[in-house]
Symmetry: C2
Subunit: 295 residues, 2 copies
Amino acid sequence: MSGPADNGPVEQPGDDHSHGQSDAVRLRLDVSYDGGGFSGWAVQPGRRTVQGTLEAALGVALQIPPPRLTVAGRTDAGVHARGQVSHLDVPAAAAETLEPAVLVRRLARLLPDDVRVRRALVVSTDFDARFAALARCYAYRICTDLAALDPIRRHDVLAWPRPLDVSVMNAAAALLVGEHDFVAFCRQRPGAGTVREVLELCWTADGDRLCCRVVADAFCHQMVRSVVGALVMVGQGGREPSWIQALLDSRSRDSAVRVLPPHGLTLEEVRYPPAPDWAARVATTRSARPMPSPG
Amino acid sequence: MSGPADNGPVEQPGDDHSHGQSDAVRLRLDVSYDGGGFSGWAVQPGRRTVQGTLEAALGVALQIPPPRLTVAGRTDAGVHARGQVSHLDVPAAAAETLEPAVLVRRLARLLPDDVRVRRALVVSTDFDARFAALARCYAYRICTDLAALDPIRRHDVLAWPRPLDVSVMNAAAALLVGEHDFVAFCRQRPGAGTVREVLELCWTADGDRLCCRVVADAFCHQMVRSVVGALVMVGQGGREPSWIQALLDSRSRDSAVRVLPPHGLTLEEVRYPPAPDWAARVATTRSARPMPSPG
């Protein structure tokens, strides 16, 4: 995998469409990681993944068999996260013996230093890290001066050797805000829709350091890196802003859209409604984007 | 080496006390690097060093034998720099064929991505990266929450697993501002003095992320990491602020002072007077801190 994939068709093991086991306690975990050393979030046999690393550490910390995590944004290999959110159900017996704050401290010592659990919270089983989310917020960082790229930040900032016109990129970005079929910008997966609502999409610049911030209800596979890649092509003068509209209108994947490398991308935040609205949000999300049956 | 060593006794090859060769052009280079992959600034046989890496690339870029660099702050293994400054003398024939901006672009392609030459400037031979400097500015970064340390920043922020009282550390830090004999905080080198003037020394905190910024005319070997280490011992309650005064008064190296790891330390900036004052500053610095003869 090579891009954010918040809404792929593969049923996650935690998504049993139940509201958790009756003797279980649901925990929300806020997670950050340097994606450089991981083959993405999702467990893959024989690969070092964020999910696999976390689940193994949780098993040790809670003294239970490794639990299954459900995640808000299944980031691809090399993509970072500062505000990833996941949840798991823990047998009540195991949860009762361990305060969430103690679990966080224990995980801080158990986990490698490229992945951190920043916070653990007991939540009601109405909460679902994936389906209760209102929006995911990503940032893509670029430095357009090869000589000026801070070496300390080279792992999360893309070096791009050409000037980019931020105002032109923002004019093009405005065309993508709102609900659209983003099929032109997605690596399609059978059974998964490609209609998404982009809530914010804006470039900011501090000298030669550029940041594209994009917020959407959810993202298709590789959507952020494709959207940013297309805007960069506009920003360097290779395409007119109207090309972005043409891509949207084409309703098909366009091989001219470049998927930018993963290391410039960071999942910064996942937004949820207040607790009383979790169940309704889960119901809305599930009905709007029906999942294929597992297996 | 394992700490900043701005004023060690070893004569640098570039320090021939002349004002450069008459047929040479002096270049000032502003350099940044991730110290993690280097055995410090200074060339050492068989080791990957910042100086060695830069000198090799400069030789290729200028099509001359690798030149010798003089540097403002000879950082130790693992210490980073965002605002390092060095100078070199280039044969006029080589300099004439290459604009500084072109040299910077060429170096950006030749150098590995953990070291960058951000800027090159032709300067008069009055300029000396080491002896014309008015002050060096370092930052030491600490996160006191093991769970909250941003994995992306783990290479330049020290994880410290105990709370630190910033106001107490600042009270202790104030005792160190001014001209003092810092022998208690220095790894001594024969022939090198240990009197330095600390111009600024202050901790700031943003939640659990702490930064100690220290500015001095120059630093002895390991001085920043020893000063920060002593302040951290005060900040976590192990010592009273008055212990800092006692260390200063003792006039001897104290093994109780912990030298913090190098990766939390970054050389942020080197300050110089305006060009007309370079020669006077060089004369003042040389007379104030006489260097032993080479060899």
